[in-house]
Each structure stands twice: as C-alpha cells, then as structure tokens.
C-alpha cells in the first residue's frame, strides 16, 4: 500500500516536472498546431533548425555560457575564504556578516541593478561582459557562500593539521586535503552560481544594455514576438546546459546529499 503511494506520488512528481518539457518539444518540432487538435498533426524540424542556425542564438549561448562559467569561478574564489571563516570560526559580529552576505537574495535585482548600472556607466563597465559578470556575482555569491560554509561547519581542521604534521606545505595541504574534502560541495556551489547566472535576464539586460545578449534576453524578445515554435526551440536550448550539467554532476550532488544526511 505504502509502496504504491510512493510510486504514484513519484509518477505525479515526474509528470509535473516533465510535462512542460514535453510541451516544448511538441511545439518545437511541429507546425500549425491549433486548438481542437489534441496532438500536433505536422512534425517538422524547420523551426528548430532556424533557431539553431540563427547566429544570434549561437552567440547568445556562447556569451551566456562564458559569463556563467566566469561567474561561478569568481563566486567560488570570493566565496571560499568567506565560507571558511563563517563555517569554522566563532567571532563577534558573525551574525552581522552572515546577514550582510544574505542581503542580495532579498533585495530585488532591479534595485541594486539600477545603482550598479549608473556606477558602471561612469567607470566604463556598462555594456561589457566584465560588467555583466560582476553584476551576476551579486546574486550568485550568497548561494556559494551558504553552500560552502555549511560544508565547512562539518569540516574538521584536524585533517589539515595531520597533513601539516606529516610534512605537507600549506599549499599541499590546501590542494591535497582541503580541496579534496570539499570537492562535492564545491561542485554544488559552482552549479548554483552557474544556474543563477545562466538564467539571469534582468541584470544582463540592465548592465549589458543590449550589447551583451544572452539566451534569456533572446528568449524574452522572442516571447514578445509570439512565434510559439521559436519560443519553444529557444526554451529547449535554454534548458539543455543546466540539465547536462546536473546529469554530469549527479554523483557529486548525491555525495553532497549523503554528507548532509550523515549528520542526522
């Protein structure tokens, strides 16, 4: 009985997750699909090919990917030391620092985006990839810091002391012990930052000022254009990298989950 309930709920969950995707697939590879017909009647790849072959799509993907990779790299670089201190040390004002890092997740991007835009216009970063990367780091950083600091809270520094006492240099300790022990959480943190950057529309548009065009920007303009096949095709392309990344890192995600489960 309990088993069948699990099965049914699992099925419903998958359906909710996958149904919109199936709809995208149906829209992408069909044409002239109108109301009373329950299923598309004509299947074609023309719309998909048109979307893929469009040079703007290609550059959108390329720019979006490179921005997302840079954002996740910089978020890790910036977040790692902060997370280490927050996770391992007790100090006065720790809660305040915590709150400070948490702020970007509650302040609407439009609010700080406007301010950033004015600043970036002055210093010449507006409309550049560097500017967009910097702007994306703002909402991405809290997630990397929180993921990594909860991992550091479970981390035992005695592993590092052991390595140090055995003759490893501080750099060797960092590379061979700290990074290795943190690897699953680093993957998860990088993934968070990547996904936040990849799906960022508003900040890209604000700071990019129409000169940095990523896939979400294209998608929004296509959505206002109203061709369902183009929208669906772009949406599929938009979903692809995150799905791929998650599929490739499923093992690390699982390890991260196990690590957290072990505590309880």
């Amino acid at each position: 009985m309990k088993r069948s309930i699990t099965l049914v709920s699992r099925f419903v969950l998958y359906l909710i997750l996958i149904a919109p995707l199936l709809l995208f697939v149906a829209y992408t590879f069909s044409t002239r699909w109108f109301f009373p017909q329950p299923f598309p009647t004509e299947w074609t790849t023309i719309a998909f090919q048109r979307a893929v072959n469009d040079s703007r799509t290609f550059s959108g993907i390329a720019q979006g990917l490179s921005i997302a990779v840079l954002v996740s790299g910089f978020s890790l670089l910036l977040g790692f030391p902060a997370a280490r201190v927050l996770g391992l040390r007790k100090f006065r004002g720790r809660k305040l620092v915590w709150l400070f890092f948490f702020v970007p997740t509650v302040i609407p991007p439009l609010a700080f985006g406007m301010g950033l835009n004015i600043l970036f216009l002055r210093i010449g970063l507006a409309g550049t990839i560097a500017g967009v990367v910097l702007a994306h780091i703002v909402p991405a950083l809290p997630y990397t810091i929180f993921t990594l600091s909860s991992a550091f809270a479970r981390f035992d520094e005695n592993y590092e002391f052991q390595a140090l006492a055995l003759g490893a240099s501080p750099w060797q300790v960092f590379r061979k012990v700290t990074l290795r022990m943190m690897a699953p959480s680093l993957v998860v943190a990088a993934l968070f930052a990547f996904l936040i950057s990849w799906s960022q529309y508003l900040l890209t548009l604000l700071i990019g000022g129409g000169r940095v065009i990523t896939l979400p920007v294209l998608l929004f303009s296509a959505a206002s254009g109203g061709n369902p096949s183009t929208i669906a095709a772009l949406s599929l392309l938009f979903i692809a990298p995150p799905v791929l990344v998650i599929a490739l890192t499923a093992r690390q995600l699982n390890e991260h989950g196990n690590e957290i489960r072990e505590q309880y």
Partner: protein, 335 residues
Amino acid sequence: MTTVTITSLTKTYPNQPAPVLKDFSLSVNDGEMVALLGPSGSGKSTLLKLITGIERPDSGDIQFDGASILKVAPNQRGAVLMFQKSYLFPFLTVEDNIGFGLKVQGASSQTIRAEVKRMLDLIGLPGIERRRPGQLSGGEGQRVALARALVTNPKLLLLDEPLSSLDTEVRLNLQEAIRNIQRELGVTTIFVTHDLGEAMAMSDRMALLLNGEIVAVDKPEALYHRPRSVAAARFMGVSTFLSGDPLHVQNEACTSSQKVFAIRPEHIRVQSEGCAESLPGVVSDCVFRGEYIEYQVAVNGASVRARMSMPAPTFPHGAQVFVKFPREKLFEVAS
C-alpha cells in the same frame, strides 16, 4: 633520535583569564615515552598543539636536540600527531594514506610502496593496501594512523588520547602494540591521556598535570607507591590522608603546618575488631568488583575508601567496623 626540552612554556588563549599552561617545563629523553596524565582542561592537548606548531606559545621555549623549534614551520618540525579519531583521509586508500607523508616530501613511488608494506607488517595488518578508511574497524583505523605517522621517521611522536574511543579489548591490544612499536623504532613519544591505568602501562615516565602546571614527574612505580604531594597522591588514586597524629583521619588536605600522611586504598583494612592502628567507623557503601571489594567507611565524619582483595570479609551497609591503617604503609606527603 631526539631529546625534547620544554622550558617555561606559557600559553593563554584570548578571552580566557587563566593561562592553559603556566611555566611548563619538561624534558623527554631520546626514545623515551612520557605520559601526560591530567583531567580535561589541564592543558595536555594545548601542549601538543604548541609542539606541532598549530598554536604559538606566549613565552618559553621548545627545543629538539638543543635547537629551538619555535621558528620552524609546522610542516618542517618532524613532530607527528595521532588523535582519538584516526583522521585518515577518506578519499585515499590505506596505502595512499600511509604513504601521504613520504609523497609530500617527494619520495619515489617504489620507496613509498616498500615503506608502506614495511609499516603494514609492523602494525600487524599486512595486505590491506587497497582498502578504504571507511572499511576499517576503529582499532584498525588507529593502527593505520600510527603507521602513517611513523612512516616519515619522525623526531617526535605525539599521541593525543589515541585509544579513548575504542572498546576495552581493542584498547588493551593496541596499548601493547603501540608500546612495542614505539620501543622497536625507539621514537621519542609524548602520550596524553586521562586514564591512569593506560598511562602506567605505557610510559617510561609520567607527568601529572593539573590546571596547566606539572604536579609531579617520575616513573610510574615511584609515583604509584610514593607520590610526594597530596595532589600527586590524588592523581594516583589515593583519597585518604591523615594529618598530624597519623590516626586522625581527614579527607581534605590540612592547611596547618602539621605533617600529612597518605595511604593507598588497598593497604587499608576493614575489620570487625579494633586494634592499636585502627579507628571505628560505619560502612556507608560496599561494592563487589570481582578481584576486590571496595568499601566506603565513615570515620570521624570523613569517608575512607578501602580496597580489600578477595577473599575478604563482607560487611553489610551500616555495619560498625574498625578501619586499620598499618603504620608501615603510611607515607608522608607535602600538603
């Protein structure tokens, strides 16, 4: 190998009023195993941290073979640590764990393999190279941790309660193993514990540590039979002190200039008839421990603990008895 000299070491942690270590001096001879015995918070672990360089002392000096190591980086000191937990790197096999120290010091892979094999034979676990730390039992993990520490041929081995998380049987086995390996390799060792039996069984000399200060340092037998002060005697399981007139019992150390005598619990006799060296009392507790019976007897308002080895007379709770303090077993202690 190495002589360790610690002089006037003092360490205070920030936000703590009292120093964890006060003017601490100790010397450990080449190849000697010294046990540091003390309750938690007595500064034992802090001392090990200062020796490895994880923490810095406020003042004082630590020397290996006469040369100060305070300015030497932690990874160049050659002092290895073994904790209560094995801290084997979970992502490495047993072989790579043991070989870690040699690898980071740039040894060739053939040397590492040969050394790992030698160490595995030494700790009595040959053939487990490919296993993961997660597949080892607690005792095996500690043996591997010992091998990992010793493979680098360290100047000093520091053991921080390495056995306290193990079952009794495993612990006794490992006590013997550590002692034998330490003797065989002749590595100078400092061993921190709060277990008197373990300290006595394993060490050449024992240092008794209380509130960051050394109370006494001597061979286990000497400390056991003739501790020189009340504090040292308490460490060694003595709880009965007689002040002035040897047959005037009291539990607390007296503050006057009277002489204080102590007696080990196993030398105190509990009997039904009074005699010259006895005092009357009432049995307040009686615990059967197999090899001996432990009595708590109320004498002159103080509680006297006596251990009578079997076969021993049994007295029920509340029985009127006489407690005999054989004069030849009394020894004077500084109060």
